[in-house]
Amino acid sequence: MATNFTIEGLKATIEGKEILKGINLEMKGGEIHAIMGPNGTGKSTLASALMGHPKYEVTDGSVTLNGEDVLEMGVDERARAGLFLAMQYPSEITGVTNSDFLRSAINARREEGNEISLIRFIRQMEAKMKELDMNPEFAHRYLNEGFSGGEKKRNEILQMMMIEPSIVILDEIDSGLDIDALKIVASGVNAMRSDDRGFLIITHYQRLLNYVKPDFVHVMMQGRIVKSGGPELAERLEAEGYDWVKEELGIEDETVGQEA
């Protein structure tokens, strides 16, 4: 089935403060969308609201995945429906090994009695970790505990590769990565490109987009998508910054919900 992910008029608040002020976006399988914008414009809030973070309250709009109402679903249901968010700040969980966690995530998608065999799981995990140039020891380490920033990001990509979601949201996956790690993460993303999988890449730098070519680029300011275009838009933003966009649109302060 062709993947279709549609966001219409999405508004969300945190602690009563409106951060998303009506987001519209349509993504199809095979497409890569990039959302760019300066800090504080609501990009990460969009990612969290889509995944269902309990701190954010959606006040208006709709989100559908292949016609199904995503906003009606719990966080785990959204994930099982095909949504995946690579987080900017993944939690550290003591006592839960990376491999136990991932196996639980995979088995959550399978019927009881049809769990993935341990040996098959280990082989898959080892193979993917090798692709990401991760130390095999990380399989047995506690989830994200003591991982460096770059290791956490790679671990997010590892989860994406193992879970094989249909809509992938990458929230600032490039922040804190050196160029080698960035290339590895990008090649992981590229390896996952397929006709039935859509990507939403949230970033404020162009550099990841040098390695993962987006089909569409959107600029977010003041909790809205204020400009959309093709890959050339990202290049111009990289070269000239965001000021010309603000000027063009008559925006003085691009941020949203920040205390003055």
């Binding site: 785990d76 939690s91 969980i93 003591t94 006592g95």
Partner: protein, 434 residues
């Protein structure tokens, strides 16, 4: 306020019982003295716990038991615990007495003694007399005194000098008759440079009538000895468990406590290492799960007398439903115990708004040239962690149980016996209702 202790037996009855069991005269006398003390002493003082309100008068009376010839005759309730133990070293106590004792001929030939304490007072009188009630003394409280007066069945383990026992010795202590006194006393003596691992389980039958377990453990680790003592208490809601565990650790000896507090009834326990010798070490791991409306008071202590002695105490407790736990860690370093190092950590994870946990780390240091440290934390399951796990498709229930097991795992995974680790895992699962 003085709380009058109601004695479950009078001196005449106790004396007749002791004599009827052909106990040596000194023991009969000990018991009678202890009974007198019980009438005059106060209940033990437990931090933030009003034990005088607990249901701790259900001693029943001594009832003799019939031994079983083979494990096939063992009660259903303990079958799982003694599976494949036909050839193993095993003691089973049921209510007031021992019903099964087995020690391999190889260990017996090396001079290892593993028998019930009631038998040992007759057959190994000198050894028992020199140690019994010298670590946990009858004059400490009315509870300790009553134990000294009433103890029955029990375990006596002696490992001679330089003997290293490689297989764990096991005991199962079962209460399934609320009319019978259940007060086992465990006495372990590891002689110079010996080593041994002892593992026991406290279980109860299906009866719903209230039972008080008043138990004591005394361990003597002589110079250079290594003792590993593991105990899992998994008695039902009807049993109130008061357990005193104490080890006296001589020069260069080491003591390891592994305690699984998995009861479903109210529990007060005190696990205490006395680091008497220079270079002595103690390591205590307490893993606890509380549920229902349990009231729990767990104390772990290390008292350093010897120079360069080291103690480590870790408690991890998960409290669900309306369980309330007071968790005390007391590290005391005496003047003169130079170069000693005492460390402790207590962590409580609460799973419901009505569950309560209170961690009280206490350091009492009378010597300057030492190291000591403590850490304590009490908290709820972190909602960010739940969100993270759920964002990968894991249901809330599974996410919570991963976090709970994860909380206990760093301690459980340190348990050096695989069988015990597996057993503890499954008891934990049972307690967490999964």
């Amino acid at each position: 306020m003085t709380t009058q202790t109601i004695l479950p037996v009078n001196a005449e009855g106790l004396s007749a019982l002791s004599k009827g069991s052909n106990e040596p005269a000194w023991l009969t006398e000990n018991r009678l003295k202890a009974l007198e003390l019980a009438a005059t002493l106060e209940l033990p003082k437990l931090e933030k716990t009003r034990i005088e309100r607990w249901d701790i008068q259900n001693y029943g009376s001594f009832k003799s038991v019939s031994p079983i010839a083979s494990l096939a005759e063992a009660p259903e309730s303990i079958r799982e615990l003694i599976k494949d133990q036909e050839a193993g070293n095993l003691i089973i106590q049921r209510n007031s007495g021992t019903v099964y004792t087995k020690l391999s001929p190889e260990l017996a030939a090396q001079g290892v003694i593993f028998t019930d304490l009631a038998t040992a007072v007759k057959e190994h009188e000198d050894l028992v007399k020199a140690h019994l009630h010298t670590a946990v003394t009858a004059d400490e409280s009315s509870v300790a005194a009553l134990h000294a007066a009433l103890w029955n069945g029990g375990v006596f383990l002696y490992v001679p000098k330089n003997v290293e026992v490689s297989v764990p010795l096991q005991a199962v202590l079962l209460t399934d008759d609320e009319e019978a006194t259940f007060a086992p006393h465990i006495l372990v003596i590891a002689d110079t440079n010996s080593s041994v691992t002892y593992v026991d389980n406290y279980v109860s039958g299906t009866s719903g009538k209230p039972v008080t377990h008043n138990g004591a453990v005394e361990v003597f680790a002589k110079s250079g000895a290594k003792v590993r003592f593991a105990t899992i208490h998994q008695m039902g809601t009807n049993v109130t468990d008061i357990s005193y565990r104490r080890a006296v650790i001589e020069n260069d000896a080491s003591m390891e406590w592994i305690v699984g507090e998995m009861n479903s009834g109210d529990t007060a326990s005190d696990t205490y290492s006395i680091l008497k010798g220079n270079g002595s070490t103690s390591d205590s791991k307490i893993i606890a799960v509380g549920s229902g409306s349990q009231k729990l008071n767990y104390t772990t202590r290390a008292n350093h007398f010897g120079k360069s002695s080291e103690s480590q105490m870790i408690t991890r407790a998960v409290m669900r439903e309306e369980a309330q736990a007071i968790i005390n860690g007391i590290t005391k370093i005496e003047k003169g115990a130079t170069k000693s190092d005492g460390q402790q950590t207590e962590k409580v994870l609460m799973l419901s708004p009505k569950a309560r946990g209170d961690a009280n780390p206490i350091l009492l240091i009378d010597e300057d040239d030492v190291k000591a440290g403590h850490a304590a934390s009490v908290g709820q399951v972190n909602p960010e962690q739940i969100y993270y796990l759920m964002s990968r498709g894991i249901s809330r229930e599974v996410a919570e149980s991963l976090i709970i097991y994860g909380f206990l795992a760093p301690v459980v995974s340190q348990i050096p016996l695989e069988g015990l680790r597996t057993q503890l895992q499954s008891v934990i699962e049972g307690k967490l209702g999964q």
